[in-house]
Assembly symmetry: C2
Homo-oligomer: 329 residues x 2
């Protein structure tokens, strides 16, 4: 299988991206990696030359601050757009990028294209949960004004992803809402609820955002606006709490000593709660595999994204979504 | 000034409600308190008989699980509905209840009534922030499908509340959104943004939910659905983190000793972050003062609600909102 990696995307590109690609190439010899980007810069980072890595030279880069649609339209020879084109032309089975999220969504939509029947692709994250299992949430911002039909498609795509990529036999799908009763919510969730009840998924009803971290489900469905509010609220609360802990820990000599004892456990916990650590985020609904790694990804995160892509390719994730969506039409 | 208190609402009613009323009556002799509820049960809790407390006997109680609209319509002699009627008939300047939130919103709407020109009243909370100042957020669930005009009215009401009740000279009002740029968001926030720019408030633009706890504004405006998702996400994250801390603390003898040193600071912090501790929640847009105390309120919380009501009455909060809204029409 062939995986195209945008070597120029991310805070520490191309260095960590190339490092991650080298690690992945060594680990899985059934994977051929195509590093897309400035060949001189990439060559400079190549400490080894494994046979299953090739370089596709490009002359442009989409920056973190570039306006997504403009950038994708104009920078036709950017590493991200070229990687997308490889997927569309079936020269690659998947692409991975740690670059500009908006531009990657646009690349997915405009360059790779949607699965027939999918109205809106969704941006997905695995939100870390207290037990370490994580819950897949979608949409988290690809589409701000969703309809009930969009939510239904998100639910089907999320359920297939959890089953195919994470091996969960009967993923529990829940609808993000303001209460657990069926009749709760806004017009959107009230209309979506009966659709979800009839969908080919294991729908377990509404979930409130206060229960997300307790892992009571495997997939959370929401519109991009509410999902983004939820994700950033959780993120903000975790970050605020840790900065307070830091203050408490450095107050006196005694608290400093106490902190030294507790730090290892807390550090591990902080890492567990960091959603950027939880692998790459797939763009679901695109007619090809597009994975977004966090901008601050290290080499291990890039290697893990290759692992995810590999499983998704082996299990024919995109084909399974396409089949299920066309069956519902 | 006369303040009606629903003596039968809340987890520990009427005991803690009566205790709180007694404390308030002692502290402010310009306040006349009307305890509304079962006179026998109330009398049994009255350890003193201050001159500025009277009892208004009622025979019914709205329970925590009662269906709000039905309960308010049918239980005409319930303590909550009778307190609302006292406000409508100008026999009380304010009412306070720690009872069923939905029923209290319904009492506000159906018994007390809306301010002329207000389309939807809003449920308000002070979300605790890291610096202790708190940010007033509305709407947090009174109205699930808001229009841009509703958000505009929330902004005006929230700004007046912060200025009148909390003495903030020029309250900073922000719009809850998925990014800080003006053009970000869903149809609702994109339509509301220019309205807020032209409103008689100090509008500072969008705020992301990850920054709410950093107190970058005094008022956050949002629709009831998104607001509820934000509030419960913050609440869920704080609660999940503290249960993890508890686990870390009790792992070994060393961590237990370390925890003992850190506990006082963390306990104070936990209290600071508990939004139920931050006074009563006003229902804004009602033509009379209606305050919701948390169901688990203790006597101090009830006394503090009287303090809030007293300031709001003195500053003519409801009159100020009414004047500003009619000016905009």
């Amino acid at each position: 299988m062939r995986i195209a990696i945008d070597a120029m995307g991310g805070d520490d590109a191309p260095k960590v991206v190339v490092e991650g690609a080298l690690q992945a190439a060594k680990e899985w010899n059934d994977v051929e990696i195509i590093l897309v980007g400035d060949s001189v810069a990439i060559e400079a980072c190549m400490t080894e030359r494994p046979a299953n890595i090739t370089i596709q030279h490009t002359t442009e880069v989409i920056g973190a601050d570039d306006e997504p649609v403009k950038a994708v339209r104009r920078k036709k020879d950017s590493s991200m757009v070229v990687a997308g084109r490889l997927v569309r032309e079936k020269k690659a089975d998947a692409m991975i990028s740690a670059g500009n999220t908006g531009a990657l969504m646009t690349t997915g939509l405009l360059i790779v294209g949607r699965i027939a029947g999918i109205e809106r692709p969704a941006l997905v994250y695995i939100i870390p949960t207290m037990d370490g299992s994580g819950v897949l949430a979608l949409d988290l911002g690809a589409n701000m004004d969703a309809t009930a039909e969009h939510l239904l498609q998100y639910a089907i795509m999320g359920s297939i992803y959890r089953s195919k990529v994470d091996g969960i036999v009967k993923p529990r799908v829940a609808l993000l809402n303001v209460g657990t009763e069926a009749q709760k919510g806004n017009e959107l969730t009230k209309t979506a609820y009966p659709l979800l009840e009839q969908a080919p998924i294991h729908f377990i009803g509404n979930i409130e955002s206060r229960d997300v971290l307790n892992a009571q489900c495997d997939v959370i469905v929401c519109d991009g606006f509410a999902g983004n509010i939820m994700l950033k609220s959780l993120e903000g609360a975790v970050s605020a709490l840790f900065s307070t802990l830091k203050q408490e820990f450095t107050k006196t000599l005694f608290t400093k000593l106490a902190a030294a004892v507790l730090k290892p456990g807390l550090k591990a916990f902080r890492k567990k709660m960091d959603y950027t650590e939880h692998g790459a985020a797939p763009l679901l609904g695109i007619d090809g595999l597009v994975l977004k790694s966090h901008g601050s990804s290290n080499a291990t995160a890039i290697k893990n994204a290759v692992r995810q892509a590999r499983i998704a390719i082996q299990s024919d994730l995109v084909g399974a979504i396409s089949t299920e969506i066309s069956r519902g039409k």
